[in-house]
Symmetry: C2
Subunit: 380 residues, 2 copies
């Protein structure tokens, strides 16, 4: 049924303001080498769905009285990721989140409910939102040193756990750190647990960016449900690309069922963290999955990693210190001048910065950046 | 700079699936009498911004290295609401959230940080997400009985607080309950605090729907920063109308500054709960505010309340038990058959259901519903 909408009165100032904002954003989107947002998308065929108030409120695997939703599509998205991450669909639970932070918060919430006496361990290279979430959840936590490449320091982890062996271990593993793209080694972490006879543990993986890279590389490290992990969060607006922040969180269904009982007891049937949830973002993710296909994603990601390698070689050519972790599209470089950082929107931390190569990354812009860097290298 | 995008290969099945989904959603959107989502919107002039990956990450009042954002617009939205709610802008802090739940979670998080030893009180007519949030935050809480009209039972509140006077009081007030549109009386609540000499308290208002109604009615009850409240959450996809869930949370800036210190100490400059935040939804809210203007909203909301009164009169005519709270567009009715509940997407709770009149509500559909109800009334 068509809803009649009164046309807003003509407002030239408003239109001018929108035009100006659009021009500014277009300009800023072209100088965009430091953030992992894939801009190679075109969701125009979905715009007509913005006439609705789509709302996927509640558990995507449950029922809903609110019919203007895309929950069937959301389940297809979840199923795609479950299969990608070696979690058989009947054993999977999850939902499309408003972004990586919500996914990590859900995973750590589930961990805390299962292990109220647990301590959270995470490396100092974790995204700052992990500490923010620990604070939100009132979760006792210990920050572990990192190795120079950004991985968790396994010795510090073992030493820290060994003096708190009476507490269950909640480990938040980085599957691609924000600054260095480092992947915590789940095999070594498991060996640590075995040496200390830790049986009560929960592993959540923050795989914001690399969760959509590793399924498409040859010989990936252990990072998904093939290992004894319990939950994982992946961003939707990063490697997939979306105009709105979104993500996917997946967990083992049996664990969610375990805490569901206590939630239902108090009359809440909703196991997601948000209430009203966007029905548009699942549509976006599904469209991206459908139009690329698994093979399309493989090609796209292989190309990204080849380009990363080529850019790294060029950096070495011009003599600017640069390196990367295996399977990562993040190139860590020595921090350039503030002017370059600002102009190219580089993320920085202390004396390092990083470039991130994405499917849309315009090579002529990279060349322009490299040229500016080359000039800066000469003046050092 | 234009980003080149490879056109996805033509996929007829995909297009057919989208067409079918669109048709289903259009049909469901027409039978939509039980949820408070204003569908009278047209944001087509904003669709072109969906080519960008807009991200308002971090505090909207702070700076950001990520330039593809609409933070300046977001501040205008916040300023509009601050003025509407009698909070001088220099004393205001807030952000555009992913929905009502995030706003309520922020408010209660702030309360818990300020009063770690506090107890949360809320009525049994509160939205289920309040209890979910209390669980998330590990916040000690006591559920208070409600009066038949949906307001908190002030006697039960006083009795409950009086036996826990050593704890600060965190009160989550309903400014329009979900099922009955009831407004907790802040004046009576304050008197309770005075009688019990409670000086350490925090009042958060869940004003999801009515927060955008009461500023536009004559002689509204006390509900905003004119009273000693500390924070308030209002939904954006409800009375304003939006294709994506969103909302606004506002708090007194001095309180946020107080907890910011402890957050900055651990190296987190981000005082919002999410990390990456949508830059599109602030644009939507700003566009709605700009095209309507305050006077436009007043007219729209006055008309909604007049229509509500007219529908209530028609219900009484056909002899179906129905009533409403003052200033509310929610009509509480005796629960009809499951068939009607499903067909008209009514929200139900026990033996009641409700209709919600919104700016878009198509009167011919309401008449159709009333006719079906009339027939049901005769068979009782």
């Amino acid at each position: 049924m068509a809803i009649s909408v009164k046309a807003p009165h003509r407002d030239d100032t408003l239109e001018q303001q929108l035009d100006q904002l659009h021009a500014e954003l277009e300009e800023a989107s072209g100088r965009f080498l430091g953030y992992p947002c894939n801009l190679a998308f075109d969701y125009e065929p979905l715009y007509r769905f913005l006439r609705f108030c789509l709302n996927n409120i509640g558990d995507p695997l449950g029922g809903s009285n609110f019919q203007v939703n895309t929950r069937a599509i959301e389940r297809k998205v979840l199923q795609f990721f479950a299969e990608l991450l070696h979690l058989p669909w009947p054993q999977a639970w999850g939902y499309v989140t408003s972004g990586g932070t919500e996914g990590n918060t859900y995973g750590l919430f589930l961990a805390r409910e299962l292990h109220p006496n647990g301590i959270l361990y995470f490396s100092q290279d974790s995204h700052y939102s992990i500490l923010k979430t620990a604070k939100l959840l009132n979760l006792r936590n210990i920050m572990i040193r990192s190795l120079p490449n950004g991985e968790i320091d396994y010795q510090d982890l073992e030493a820290s756990i060994s003096v708190k062996r009476e507490h269950p271990v909640i480990l938040c593993a980085n599957i691609g750190t924000t600054m260095k793209g480092a992947i915590d080694d789940l095999g070594r972490i498991q060996q640590t647990f075995e040496r200390l006879a830790i049986h009560d543990f929960y592993i959540h993986c923050d795989a914001a960016l690399s969760g959509m890279i590793l399924p498409f590389v040859d010989n990936p490290p252990l990072f998904d449900f093939g290992a004894p992990i319990n939950s994982i969060a992946i961003s939707g607006h990063k490697m997939i690309g979306a105009p709105l922040p979104c993500g996917v969180v997946l967990a083992r269904r049996a664990l969610v069922k375990q805490i569901e009982r206590s939630i239902e007891y108090v009359g809440i049937m909703d196991t997601t963290l948000s209430g009203s949830r966007s029905g548009f973002t699942p549509l976006v993710l599904w469209y991206a999955i459908r139009t690329h296909g698994r093979q399309g994603w493989r090609r796209s990601i292989q190309k990204v990693l080849q380009t990363t390698e080529a850019v790294l070689a060029r950096l070495q050519e011009i003599g600017w210190p640069a390196w990367r972790n295996p399977h990562s599209n993040t190139i860590v470089i020595r921090r350039p001048s503030d002017e370059l950082v600002r102009r190219w929107q580089l993320a920085v931390k202390g004396d390092i910065a990083h470039l991130i190569v994405m499917p849309h990354t315009p090579m002529e812009r990279v060349e322009q950046f490299l040229e500016e860097l080359r000039r800066e290298a000469q003046t050092l």
